[in-house]
């Protein structure tokens, strides 16, 4: 049974097709990976799912209901939480206040005046950033801010978590702990859809992986299937052959995919890969 279905979604920015007839589903109580080279349309897909971007064509269904026309906040209230690739922490508030805001929003008008710290601090402890609770959110390291965004979602007890590159900024041991946390969250009955460049993490925690390339799903399967899929290898290698600028980034990912070493492409290189179809670069 799938909790989320993305049905023939197309997103065009002028002449650029960011998502091209993408079809995939996210199963309940599982961790699903969404991977692909830069500019493949991963973040745009997230924006479509959460309602920040209207799809040019196609439908999105959540828990069997068509939510394509619903505003952002209504989807969130249905049980959808997300984190952002480009951080969206509330910079002027402390880490704890960030989570308090999320709790207040979730509690709604009636719950808003009943305060209490316990659940907030409990969530901060759970994701492992309680020691940063009193720092301003724009002062904490990236990895912490990403976990903060996760904590913010968790106070709302979402049924589906959309995580956009959650592990970038975490070191190796932190990433391992993070992987365990993800498994726990899924075991509690949450579905997780995760965009991630850390192939170690993706391969170790995901039950199913969708591979996106040029806005289209080119492969779906469990980690082993995806790793051995020739189309997937080509997608990652192909970028480096065709695009001279991208040689560095493309090759690294390809190596990672096969050798299972690393991971995170230096941010500076990400930009140069396929700027024209970069998820963030094009704004509506």
């Amino acid at each position: 049974m799938s909790i989320l279905e993305v049905d023939s979604v197309v997103v065009r920015f002028g002449g650029v097709v960011a998502v091209n007839n993408a079809n995939y589903a996210v199963a309940e109580q599982q961790i699903t990976g969404l991977i692909g080279p830069n500019g493949a349309g991963k973040t745009t897909s997230f924006n479509v799912i959460t309602g920040l971007q209207k799809p040019t064509e196609g439908r999105v269904r959540f828990q069997g209901k068509d939510i394509t026309g619903l505003p952002v906040h209504r989807r969130a209230r249905m049980g959808m939480g997300r984190t952002f690739q480009r951080l969206e922490a509330f910079g002027s508030l402390s880490v704890r206040e960030n989570v308090q805001v999320a709790r207040d929003i979730h509690a709604g008008l009636r719950g808003i005046f009943r305060s209490g710290r316990s659940d907030v601090d409990g969530v901060l402890e759970r994701v492992g950033i309680i020691q940063y609770a009193d720092e301003r959110a724009d002062n904490v390291p990236t990895g912490v801010a990403r976990l903060l965004e996760l904590a913010r979602c968790l106070v709302g007890d979402p049924k589906l978590l959309l995580l956009d590159e959650p592990s970038s900024g975490l070191d190796e041991s932190e990433t391992d702990e993070f992987g365990e946390l993800l498994k726990d969250l899924a075991a509690e009955g949450r579905a997780i859809l995760m965009v991630e460049h850390d192939m170690d993490l993706v391969m170790s925690v995901c039950d199913e992986i969708h591979v996106l390339d040029f806005g289209t799903i080119i492969a779906t399967g469990d980690p082993a299937e995806v790793r051995s899929n020739p189309k997937v290898q080509e997608a990652y290698l192909g970028a480096s052959v065709e695009d001279h600028d991208a040689s560095g980034a493309g090759r690294h990912v390809a190596e990672d995919l096969t050798e299972q070493t690393l991971v995170d492409i230096p941010a500076a290189e990400q930009t140069t890969v396929v700027p024209a179809v970069n998820d963030q670069g094009v704004r509506g």
């Binding site: 830069n38 309602g51 920040l52 971007q53 505003p71 952002v72 906040h73 969130a76 209230r77 959808m80 939480g81 997300r82 952002f84 690739q85 480009r86 951080l87 969206e88 922490a89 509330f90 910079g91 002027s92 508030l93 960030n98 308090q100 805001v101 999320a102 207040d104 929003i105 979730h106 808003i112 305060s115 301003r136 724009d138 390291p141 990236t142 990895g143 965004e149 913010r152 979602c153 709302g156 970038s168 900024g169 070191d171 190796e172 070493t261 690393l262 991971v263 995170d264 230096p266 941010a267 500076a268 990400q270 930009t271 700027p275 970069n278 963030q280 670069g281 094009v282 704004r283 509506g284």
Partner: protein
């Protein structure tokens, strides 16, 4: 039939002038993301400059025209962009708009100072020369204007589509950083588009002067017409802007022809652009939430309840000591300062915490004053109802803009203020056409407070009560959500907050506070004038609030006193009235980037003196403007990188 044609020609003429102004506005906004609310003011100053050169100094008209359009105006646009507006494109709208409002007010002050009020006329080009088309007399000036609009449209098309720099400009509209990556120079593009923009504003101003006269305000408010036209193209599309401008011009001309010129609806003709704007705004589709990190603003510390109560008690004693010895005239001034300070508290809530801007706060105060008087119950209930009515009007203003972003909300308050000035406040149920209203003094629990000293103390108490309430809101959950909405609307949305209604409520609450101030003010003064609540009063209010510190109650208190002193200084030195305006305006241009204002410097000094906290109070400056956003290259701060290097 002939008259319809004649009015159409007239409409096409004004539409052509609007389209010239509007295309300049679109060009500057699209390339730099800074909305130049002073666009009309720049055109106004240039029209005066043209008058000065051609009529006062006797320079031949073509030479004067050339100097203004191709030397002075571009230089001014270039200067304004490089010196005043640089880097504001990535700043919150509440910051970038304040700076351009500062320029707006500063230019009016400057013009009044350099060219004191006097009768000046500018002749149409080629005098009364005209031709007859289908029996309609078309003047040479009209023909030239319509022709120039076409030329401007053509030139802009060629510039944007056929030249290298034009391509860079279009690229800049889409993405600043990518342009930089590909070797373009966004700074040069920005300066050039502002130079062209200023030149177009100047041309529009000069072309319209023979019709609407050399007037500081009418020419300055041209920005509303231009904005209304540009909204049809969502501040992006030049062709749609031309369509918008022409339709607006023709509509306005028909309004002059066929709407009543006397009676209750006489003012309707003057507000056609504002109404046109409202209709377009309502028709626009839902804006998408902006994604992109804005760095949190550094805010001044929020005092605890105990601390704010103690400060309030201290303030009461101070106020008692000061007011006791004051003359009646000075007492009224103290009461006026308290009124202004309460209105500024409404901005603390709206702008300081919520990050939204209102250019019509005095209009809401006016609504409160009128409601207090017309309800006829000069007691606390009447004051309360006046505040509620002002709040409802405020919510009503925010409602059409529900689906759009903050910039549009701020700009529609400007249009709203103009509608109120020219239409509603002149109606019989408000100030009527003579512009004055008598108010009864307030009675509290059956006791009329006739003694001025007591009444002023009451107003100061009201200020403190509102201030303590605003601070309490800030400390609580609602305050946290306000800050969160300012920092990241997208995150608030994905956490499940319906920001549209929250924003309407915020706007309503803020208008309510202003309305309360208006009611108290009316009761104190006994006679109030419509002119005290017009749009040109609201702008200095906003500027002084920001300069003094729009994030703190202390800032509001100082701001109230400063704003009260403004007319005092100008009336004792009438020759310097314009200069006072200019100082306030350009002061805001210089200081508007730090919404914590001078008050935060006061807090800093206070801390140093007490030596209790060693921390320095950081102040948000241009350097702290979030680094040019977009592109994943900025997403991962440096600390993410070293590990990657080692894994390599």
């Amino acid at each position: 039939m002939t008259s319809l044609l004649a009015f159409t020609v007239l409409g096409l003429f004004t539409g052509a002038a609007y389209s010239i102004a509007a295309s300049g506005l679109v060009l500057t906004y699209a390339t730099t993301r800074v909305f130049n609310i002073a666009h009309g003011a720049m055109g106004m100053v240039m029209a005066f400059t043209f008058w000065d050169l051609a009529y006062r100094q006797g320079i031949p008209t073509p030479v004067a025209l050339f100097l203004v359009l191709f030397v002075i105006a571009p230089a001014m646009g270039w200067f304004v962009q490089r010196v005043m507006m640089r880097g504001l494109g990535e700043a919150p709208v509440s910051v970038s708009l304040v700076v351009s409002v500062g320029l707006f007010v500063g230019l009016i002050g400057l013009a009044q100072q350099v060219w004191p009020p006097a009768a000046r006329t500018v002749q149409p080009f080629f005098g009364e020369a005209s031709i007859s088309i289908f029996g309609v007399v078309v003047t040479a000036h009209q023909l030239i204007t319509i022709g120039l609009a076409a030329v401007v449209a053509g030139m802009l098309y060629l510039l944007l589509n056929r030249t290298r720099i034009g391509t860079a400009m279009r690229a800049s509209v889409d993405n600043h950083q990518l342009l930089q990556l590909y070797g373009g120079n966004p700074e040069r593009v920005a300066a050039l588009s502002w130079a062209i923009g200023a030149s177009l504003a100047a041309l529009a101003g000069i072309l319209l002067t023979p019709v609407i006269g050399l007037d500081y305000f009418e020419l300055t408010l041209l920005v509303i017409n231009a904005y209304a036209a540009a909204m049809l193209g969502r501040l992006k599309s030049l062709p749609m802007t031309f369509v918008g401008a022409m339709s607006l011009g023709v509509l306005q001309s028909y309004a002059v022809a066929y709407l009543p010129s006397s009676g209750q609806l006489a003012g309707l003709r003057a507000v056609v652009p504002a109404i046109f704007l409202m209709v377009i705004i309502i028709a626009l589709p839902q804006a998408q939430l902006r994604i992109g990190q804005v760095k949190g603003l550094v805010s001044v510390p929020v005092p605890s309840l105990r601390r704010s109560l103690l400060t309030a008690v201290g303030a009461v004693f101070l106020a008692l000591a000061v007011t006791v010895g004051l003359s009646d005239a000075n007492l009224l001034l103290a009461g006026t300062a308290a009124t202004y300070a309460i209105v500024m508290l409404s901005l603390v809530l709206l702008t300081g915490y919520g990050g939204h801007l209102s250019l019509s706060q005095f209009t809401f105060a006016g609504v409160g004053a009128v409601a207090y008087i017309q309800l006829g119950s000069a007691n606390l209930f009447g004051v309360f109802m006046a505040a509620v009515i002002a709040a409802l009007v405020g919510a009503l203003v925010a409602l059409p803009v529900l689906r759009l972003t903050g910039l549009y909300l701020a700009l529609s308050t400007l249009a709203f203020a103009v509608v109120m000035d020219k239409l509603v406040f002149q109606a019989d149920f408000a100030f009527s056409t003579d512009g004055f209203l008598e108010a009864e003094r307030l009675s509290v629990l059956g006791v009329v407070i006739t003694n001025d000293t007591s009444y002023v103390m009451l107003m100061i108490l009201a200020f403190l009560a509102v201030g303590i309430t605003v601070l309490a809101v800030r400390r609580g959950p609602v305050g946290r959500i306000l800050i969160a909405m300012r920092d990241s609307p997208a995150a608030c949305g994905t956490l499940g907050l319906d920001q549209r209604w929250f924003r309407v409520a915020l706007f309503g609450a803020s208008a309510g506070i202003a309305g309360l101030a208006g009611a108290l003010f009316a009761s104190m003064r006994g006679t109030i004038a419509a002119a005290e609540f017009n749009v040109l009063a609201s702008l200095p209010l906003l500027l002084i609030a920001v300069v003094c510190g729009v994030t703190s109650v202390t800032g509001a208190a100082f701001g109230g006193i400063l704003l009260m002193l403004m007319p005092v200084v100008s009336s004792s030195n009438p020759g310097l009235a314009g200069l006072v305006f200019a100082v306030v305006g350009f002061g805001a241009v210089a200081l508007g980037r730090n919404p914590n204002g001078l008050a935060s410097l006061g807090f800093l000094a206070g801390r140093k003196v007490w030596g209790r906290y060693g921390d320095r109070l950081p102040i948000w400056t241009a350097e702290d403007v979030p680094p040019a956003q977009t592109g994943p290259s900025q997403t991962d701060p440096p600390q993410a990188r070293p590990e990657e290097v080692t894994t390599r």
